[in-house]
C-alpha cells in the first residue's frame, strides 16, 4: 500500500448527498477478479452517456477536475454495498483523498486498506471547501496527514480528526495482515480457550 503523507491537488466538488457505492462503481464492473483497472468505471453511470461518450456535465469530465486527486462530496459518502471496488476505482482514477461531512462505516474502513484518506469535516467547513472547489484550477488544497490539516487556496486551514492507529498505518503504508500475524500467539491462546466451548 502506498503511504499517504501530504497531497496537493485541485479538489473536485460532487454536491450530492448519500453517494452510494453503486454510484461509485456500478455492478457490471464487479465481475472482475482483479483489483486494478477500475478507474474508467468510476461513477460510470453519471460520467458517461448511454452511447458511451462522456457526459460533459459531470464534474470529473470538466477540464479543471480531470486530474483531481481530492474529491469533496455531500454527506454520507460511500453508503450501501461493502464492495471494495469503490475505493479501488477511486484509487485507479487517481483520487487519494475524499472529504465529506460523514462516511458510511464500511466504505470508510475500506479506504484505509487502500491508501485513501477519508476526511470528515463540519458542514460549515464543507461549504467552504465546496466554494474552493468551485474555483476550479485556480484553487488547490493541500492535505497534510501528519498535521491533520487541510490548507485552502487562501491560506485558511481546517483541522480534522483521525484514529491514531489508522493514521500510523496510512502514513507508513502498513499491511494489516502482517501486523496481526505478529499477534499469532495471542490468537492461538484465544483459540485454546475457545476449545472449552464445544458448540462454538
Amino acid at each position: 500500500m502506498q503511504p499517504f503523507t501530504t497531497l496537493t491537488s485541485t479538489p473536485a466538488p460532487l454536491k450530492v448527498i448519500n453517494v452510494d457505492t453503486d454510484m461509485i462503481i456500478p455492478k457490471q464492473f464487479l465481475k472482475t477478479i482483479k483489483r486494478t483497472g477500475l478507474g474508467t468505471a468510476l461513477f460510470a453511470e453519471m460520467r458517461y452517456k448511454e452511447d458511451g461518450s462522456e457526459n460533459p456535465d459531470f464534474v470529473l469530465n470538466q477540464p479543471a477536475y480531470r486530474k483531481s486527486e481530492i474529491l469533496v462530496a455531500g454527506d454520507n459518502f460511500g453508503c450501501g454495498s461493502s464492495r471494495e471496488h469503490a475505493p479501488w476505482a477511486l484509487l485507479d482514477f487517481g483520487i487519494r483523498c475524499v472529504i465529506s461531512t460523514s462516511f458510511a462505516d464500511i466504505f470508510y474502513s475500506n479506504c484505509f486498506k487502500n491508501g485513501i484518506l477519508p476526511i470528515v469535516v463540519s458542514p460549515e467547513d464543507l461549504e467552504k471547501l465546496f466554494d474552493d472547489a468551485d474555483r476550479g484550477s485556480n484553487a488547490t488544497l493541500t492535505v497534510d496527514l501528519e498535521k491533520q490539516q487541510i490548507t485552502g487556496p487562501d491560506g485558511g486551514t481546517v483541522t480534522f480528526n483521525i484514529d491514531p492507529f489508522r493514521k500510523h498505518c496510512l502514513m507508513n503504508g502498513l499491511d494489516d495482515i502482517g501486523l496481526t500475524l505478529e499477534k499469532a500467539p495471542k490468537i492461538a491462546a484465544y483459540e485454546e480457550k475457545l476449545k472449552q466451548r464445544a458448540w462454538a
Binding site: 465481475k31 448511454e50 454527506d75 490468537i187
Partner: protein
Amino acid sequence: MTATSAPRTLYDKIFDDHIIDQQEDGTCLLYIDRHLVHEVTSPQAFEGLRMTGRKVHAPEKTLAVVDHNIQTTDRSKGIVEEESRIQVEALARNAKEFGVEYFNELDIRQGIVHIIGPEQGFTLPGTTIVCGDSHTSTHGAFGALAHGIGTSEVEHVLATQTLIQKKAKNMLVQVDGTLSPGVTAKDITLAIIGEIGTAGGTGSVIEYAGEAIRALSMEGRMTLCNMSIEGGARAGMVAPDEKAFAYLKGKPKAPHGAAWDEAMRYWQTLRSDEGAHFDRIVKLDANNLPPIVSWGTSPEDVISVAGSVPDPALIEDETKRTSKQRALDYMGLTAGTKMTDIPLDVVWIGSCTNGRIEDLRAAAKIVEGKTIASSLDYAMIVPGSGLVKQQAEAEGLDKIFIAAGFEWREPGCSMCLAMNPDQLKPGQRAASTSNRNFEGRQGFKGRTHLVSPQMAAAAALAGRFVDVRQLG
C-alpha cells in the same frame, strides 16, 4: 470472560467476549467465529493469500456459496455469461485449493449467503459473523454480532480469523405496539430508516427491542436486521429467545446433544442488562404503522402507501434539496402524485431481505386464484435458496405463482443488484422486495420502489400500489 459490574448491552457482551488484544487507543483485535464467502468479493482476497503464501487460518469456520452472479434460469449446463462464469469458477477453485466448504450453483443448499447461514445453523447466537457483503447484518436476528466487510478484510479474516475493530456506539430501536394485518417487518425497517436517515446509524450497532420485535418471527427479524445497513448501522441485532433457539434446533451445522445444552446455557445470558447504556434511543409505535413504499433513490425516501410523492422544493438545505430533486427526476415522478396512482412495469419478489419461505407464503396468499395485471411487463419470484424453493414447491406455492402469471426462478441474488441477466430496462418501474432503490441498482436507469412481499404481490395484481390493509 471479562468480568465487569457495569450493566452491558448485548453488543457490549459479544464484543467483549471476542477481544483478543486491545491497544491503548481502543483498537481491538476481534476473533471471528464464522466467515461467509461469495464469488464477487472474494477472488482478490484469495489471490492475496496466494501471493503471500498464506493459508486459510480456520477453513472449518468458513463457508462459501455462489449467489450474486448466477442466472436464475436453468443452470444445469453451467453459467451462461462468461465473466460471471469465470468468477464462479474462481470461487470453486479457491474453495478447493484452500479447503473451504462450498455450495455450488446446483447444490440444493445453495442460495443467498444470508439465507443459507441461518438455514444451515452456521449462524449462531453470541458469535461474530462476517462476510464481504453489507447485508451480513441479517444474522444479527439470532443475537450474533454480524456485519459486512471489504475484500481486504475478507483476506484478513481468511488469513488470521480476526478483524481489527474499534467499538461502535450502542443504539436502541424500541418498537412497541402491534402491527396491523398486512403490515410487516419490512414496513418497520423502512419506517425506521425514514426516521433516522441512511446515515442515522453510522458508527453504531443497533439493538431492536420491544413488544413488536418480540412478536416478529425469526424471518421477520432477519428482514429487520438485514436493512440495518440501509440505516447506516453496520450491524443490527435482536436478543435471542425461544423463537431463535427453536429455529436453530436440529439445523445441520447447529450444535447437537450436550453441546446444544451447553450452548443454550450461554445463549440464554445474551440480552442487554437492565440499565445498560445506549448512546441513542429511537422509538417507533407499531400501532397504526401503514405499509411503506419508497419514492426516491435512497432507502430514506419513504412514505405511507396512503401518501403522495413529497415536494423537494420544501427542503431548506441546498445540497439536500438538489439531491432529492435529482431523485424525483430519476424516478420520473412529480411531487404530489398519490403513491397509489403510480403505474408499475415489473414486480420482483426475492432477495436476502424478503426471499424466505414466509415471504413467499404471504405473497402466494394474496395472489392465489388471481392473475397479475396485464399492464405489467412481467412479475418474477426468486426464492432465496434451494431449500426455500423446495419447501415452496412442496406447499404448491410455485403453482399458485405460475397460475397467477409470475415467473418462478432458481435461487440467487438476481434483480436485487442485477449482476445477472435479471435487470430492469431503462425507464422500467418496479415494485421490489429488495433493499436498495439506488440509481441503476436494479438495471441502468431502472426505477425501484421498495416494498414488503405483501405489497409487491398486491401491486402485481393491480399494476399499481394498493394498500394491503384494504384487501379483504
